[in-house]
Amino acid sequence: MRDDQLLTAKQLSREDIEDILDRAAEFDADPAAFGDRREDAILGLCFFEPSTRTKMSFETAIKRLGGDTVDMGPVDSSSVKKGESLADTARVVEGYADALVLRHPSQGAAKMVGEFVDVPLLNAGDGAGHHPTQTLLDLYTIRENAGLDDLTIGIMGDLKYGRTVHSLAHALTNFDADQHFVSPESLKLPRSVRYDLHEEGAMVREHTELDDILPSLDVLYVTRIQRERFPDENEYQEIAGEYGIDLETLEAAKDDLTVMHPLPRVDEIAPEVDDTDYATYFEQAHNGVPVRMALLDQLLEEDE
């Protein structure tokens, strides 16, 4: 895989991650101070799925670096509507931009596009596959709040289709992190992710109840249980409440527990948690800008 492409978290070594996070910390300290850093750089935004945080943070990041964006806009108003292939769309947009960001509903879409384009490419989410830039901002947030070694982390929610979870779990194998996975039976980690974790020598500890492990956690990473994944609404209703947290749930947690969520949330975290020291999800979203500044800066540098 090329150095100027970030397609999965599997590409990232501990050293790679620490380099990007250190660079992100510099941008984070004074984001407005780097406006001439990547002057004239144009970032192509190819979002084939709705996105608020990821897309806006990429836009902000490149603008903070002095660059700008070209955006293919909603799929409904693009050539995709006329039947153009993703491969063709990407090859056209690379003619307009110095780097591409791709979000697509199909797994493996970023890998395929990476075979067709020469400019730097970032996977901003491919179906239930990977979301490595989210992982970098997750790691940045974890490092700021709990440190990345000697860490016990619980990852809870839709682990089967949650691409942020797949990428994060893999990246954490670079660190001394004890990972616990909490989900209903039907939304457990997919076989391919468990295979990768085993290959990396990580222990996969799976639970159906948060209570079993909550007191030992330094970080609790919550994801949305997606109602649309359940063929039976009753089945969803039965388990939905089991995987939400509120102040009562958190009574069993360590005082310095960090609660994270890639957002958007629906009802997994009660609003009453927002004003506590546990809540880190809005800070996490904010961290998308410095982390993506660091990543774009590095990839554009690789491409020089």
């Binding site: 292939s85 697509h104 199909s106 596959g129 391919s192 295979y195």
Partner: protein, 153 residues
């Protein structure tokens, strides 16, 4: 040649795939894209007694030699098979199968959400694992019944 092998007669030229695990002959035909419509003369023996294997299947395809891609996929479902290239009724070459590191363009990905199942100009690629194959695009691991995932022509 033993009586057992003579159950299916010698062919003048083509390929004999021998020592196929019993019950896999029809999957071998599927891999070779043989459905009876292309006009090839094909002989199939199933559950033939074998000293080495107990029972085995055998497939003889006249006037055809196999491509490396076909051999690679055969090695996944019939690793014990031997491939004999026949010329003038004699075995001109004998090939033992080796598992490839990857197979390209032959298997389809069972994950309907994989980009290889979209209308894109991309061939499927699977890494070969110790106990299955893995899609290089979406990561899906296939362990059972690989023959069911042979891409349609």
């Amino acid at each position: 040649m033993s009586d057992h092998q003579l159950r299916v007669s010698k062919i003048p030229r083509g390929t004999v795939i021998d020592h196929i695990r019993a019950g896999q002959a029809l999957n071998v035909l599927a891999i070779l894209g043989i459905d009876g419509e292309s006009g090839e003369t094909v002989s199939v023996g199933m559950n033939i007694p074998s000293d080495r294997m107990g029972h085995k299947d055998i497939v003889k395809v006249e006037d055809r030699e196999l491509s490396q891609d076909e051999v690679d996929v055969l090695s996944l479902i019939a690793p014990e098979a031997t491939i004999n290239i026949i010329r003038e009724y004699e075995v001109a070459e004998k090939q033992y199968l080796e598992r490839p590191k990857r197979v390209v363009g032959i298997l389809s990905c069972p994950n309907h959400n994989c980009i290889t199942n979209e209308n894109e100009p991309v061939e499927t690629k699977f890494d070969v694992l110790d106990d299955g194959v893995r899609c290089e695009y979406c990561g899906t691991i296939v362990r059972d019944d690989l023959a069911a995932h042979i891409a349609a022509e």
